[in-house]
Symmetry: none
Subunit: 206 residues, 4 copies
C-alpha cells in the first residue's frame, strides 16, 4: 500500500485510518456486484462513505486500488502440515481455488494482471503484494517434503530457485487456467488428478 516515513509525527490532520479499510471493503463489494469493467471509483467512494478526492489521495487509479483490494484476499493462504507432500499440495491448491472462486477475486485478479502487461510499476506491485507471498508456500512445502525424505535435498542453489519458479508457475497457472479460462470448478477430483501428474508424471502407471 502507500507508505510514509514511519513514525514521524507529521504536521496536519492525519489520514483517517478507517477510510482505508472502508474503501478496500467497498472495492471488493463493488467488484462482486459489478465486475472490474463496470466498477467506477465514484461508486466505490460513495459505498465507502468517502469523497472521491479522498480515494484519489491514497491511490492513483483503479488499478492500484484493485490490486490492494484483491491482495488482501490472498493473505489467508497458508500451508498446514498434512503429513505428506501430496496432501500438502492438495490442501493449498484447494485453498487457492476457493479464493479464486470468489467473484471479487475472479474478475479483479485477472483485470489487474491484464493491465500489468503494459505497466511495469503495476507488475512490480502485483509481484510484491501477491506473487512473492505465495511463492513462499512453495518453498515451505518443499523443505517439509525434504525433511520427510519425499524429495532429495537441494544441491545447486541456482537450480533450486529455478525449480521453485517452475513449480509455482505450474501450480498457480493450472488452477487459474482451470478456473478462469476453462471456467470449470477445481474440485477434489481435479486436484487429485493434478497432484498425481505433478508428483509422478503423465507416464506413470495410474
Amino acid at each position: 500500500m502507500q507508505s510514509r516515513s514511519p513514525s514521524a509525527a507529521r504536521p496536519g490532520r492525519p489520514r483517517s485510518a478507517t477510510a482505508d479499510a472502508a474503501i478496500l471493503a467497498a472495492t471488493r463489494e463493488a467488484l462482486v456486484e459489478l465486475g472490474w469493467s463496470k466498477l467506477t471509483l465514484g461508486d466505490v467512494a460513495t459505498r465507502a462513505g468517502v469523497a472521491k478526492t479522498t480515494l484519489y489521495r491514497r491511490w492513483s487509479g483503479k488499478n492500484e486500488l484493485v490490486v490492494d483490494a484483491v491482495a488482501e484476499l490472498f493473505d489467508e493462504l497458508c500451508l498446514p502440515d498434512r503429513g505428506s507432500l501430496a496432501a500438502d499440495i492438495e490442501g493449498v491448491v484447494l485453498q487457492f481455488a476457493a479464493i479464486l472462486a470468489r467473484p471479487e477475486a475472479r474478475g479483479g485478479l485477472m483485470a489487474v494482471v491484464t493491465e500489468a502487461t503494459r505497466d511495469d510499476a503495476l507488475r512490480a506491485r502485483i509481484r510484491a503484494s501477491i506473487v512473492d507471498r505465495q511463492k513462499g508456500l512453495v518453498l515451505q512445502g518443499r523443505s517439509r517434503a525434504q525433511q520427510r525424505g519425499e524429495l532429495p535435498p537441494e544441491t545447486d542453489p541456482e537450480e533450486s530457485a529455478r525449480t521453485v519458479d517452475l513449480i509455482f508457475d505450474m501450480v498457480a497457472g493450472a488452477v487459474v487456467h482451470r478456473t478462469l479460462v476453462s471456467g470449470r470448478p477445481v474440485d477434489e477430483e481435479w486436484v487429485r488428478g493434478f497432484t498425481q501428474i505433478l508428483l509422478r508424471g503423465l507416464t506413470a502407471p495410474s
Copy 2:
C-alpha cells in the same frame, strides 16, 4: 464473426471486403501500441481508414472485435511430429509461448479472458475461437504417443476427456502464468524442465 445469408445477392451497396481485414489489422496494431484498456474504437476506425459506423455494423463492441483480432493469432499453432512425446510437447509449448510473447497477444488475450469472466456469450466465443482449437492439439499429441507406445491406450472415455482437460489446463496455464504473471521468458531451459515434470513428475530422479 458476423454472418449473413451466404450467397444471397442482397440489394444495395455490398460491404467492403477489405474493410474487415483493415479493421482487424488496425486492432492488432492498436493493441500493440496502446494495450487493451487504452484502445478506443474510434482510434481503430481511424487507423483502418474506416468510419466508426462501419465498425459497429460488423462487431457489436470492443470485446467481440478484439476476440476476433486475437483469435487469428492462434491459427498458426500446429503439432508437427517430432518423434517423441517429449519433443512434441516442447515444440508446441514453444510455439504457444512465441505467440504469447507478441505484445498484441499478451494484452489482448488476457483482456478478453478477463471480460469473459462476466460475460457468458463472450466466454463461448473464446472457447470456440481459441480454446477448443488448442485442445485438439492435446488430443492429437496423446494419440500419437499412444501409437508410439509412450502412453497406454484409453479405457474409460469419460476419464479420457477429464485427462485431456487437465493436461490442457496444466500446459496452457503454466505457459500463460510464466509469461504474463511471472513476466519471464519461456525459453528452452524452462520448457525442458516443464516437460520433464509433466512427463515424469516431481519425485522422479532428475
Copy 3:
C-alpha cells in the same frame, strides 16, 4: 457566436439548430434563478435537454456562453423618432434601463464585463456583440438631431468619433451605475434629470 464556412454543405450530421436556441434560453433562465456565480454549465445543459458535451462543442466556457445569451437581450433596443433630441434620449435610456432591470441582464452583463478585464478575446466579443450595436443608436440620434437643427453639423470627423464615444460612455455608464452600483431604479424622474444635464449642463438654470 460561432461561425462556419457559410453555405458549404459540409459532410456529417449538421449541428442541431434548435439546440443553440434551447441552450441560450436555458442560460438566461438559469441566470435569473441562480445568478452568474452559481450558474453551472451542467445545469444549463440539463435545462436545455442537451448533453454537456454539446454545449462545450459550441462554446468554450461559461463566459462565452453568457455573453451570447446576454447579447440577445440587447437586440430589441431601437430608437423610434419622438420628435426631439431630449425625447429620443429619454426613450432609449428607458429602454436600456428596462433591459438592465431584468435579473438575467443585471448579473450576466456585469459578470461578463468583469471577466473581460482579463481576457482580450472576451472583450472583443463583447464589443462586437453588445457595445458596437448600441453605439449605432448614438450615431442615429445625433444625425436626427442635426437634421432637426438641434445640434450643429459635424466638421472634424475625428472629433466627431470621439464625441460619440464620450456620449456613449456617459449614457451607458450613468444608467449602468445607477442600476447596478447605486442599486436604485432608473425611473422617469431620474431620466428627466439626466437628460437635462446631458443637454444643458450643470450650470444651466434649471
Copy 4:
C-alpha cells in the same frame, strides 16, 4: 472589516496583527496576477504565508476579503481646491481614473459589484466602504462651487440629494464605463470633453 469588542483584553493568544496586512496585500497581488475569477483563497493564504484557517477566521469568504482589499485603494481619493468647479471635477476624475487603471482595481471592483447584484449584505458593505466615501466628494465639490458662485444655492433639500446621486452616477459611471467596458484610457482630452458636457451640456456651443 472584522470587529471585536474593542479594548477588552480577552484571554488566549491574540490575533496576529501582521497577518491582516499580509493577507490584504497578498489579495491585491493575486488580483493583479490572476484576476478575480482565478484567485483562490488557498493561493492567497500561501502568498501571505498564512494558513487557510487563519484567513477564514477573519473573513467569511472571497467576496468579503476582496471588498476589503479593494476598498483600501479608494482611501487616497481627495478633492484639493483647484480654483474652479471645472478644475475640481477634472482633478477628481483623473484621480479616480488613475485608481481604476490599476489592475487590482479593475478586476476587483467590478467583480465585487457583480457579486453584489445578488447579495444584499455585500452591497451594503460596498456602499459603506466605497460608494459613500466618494459621494462625499461630490457634496464637497458642490458646496465649494456654490461658495464661488458657480452654482446656485440649494433650495429643496430633497431635490438636492437627488442631484448629488445623479451627478455621482454620471461621473463614476462614465469613468468606469470608459475604463472597463470601452477599455480606453481616461486621458486629459477625454476628461476635458467630459467636464465640458457635464457643465455646459451637449447643446452648448463648443
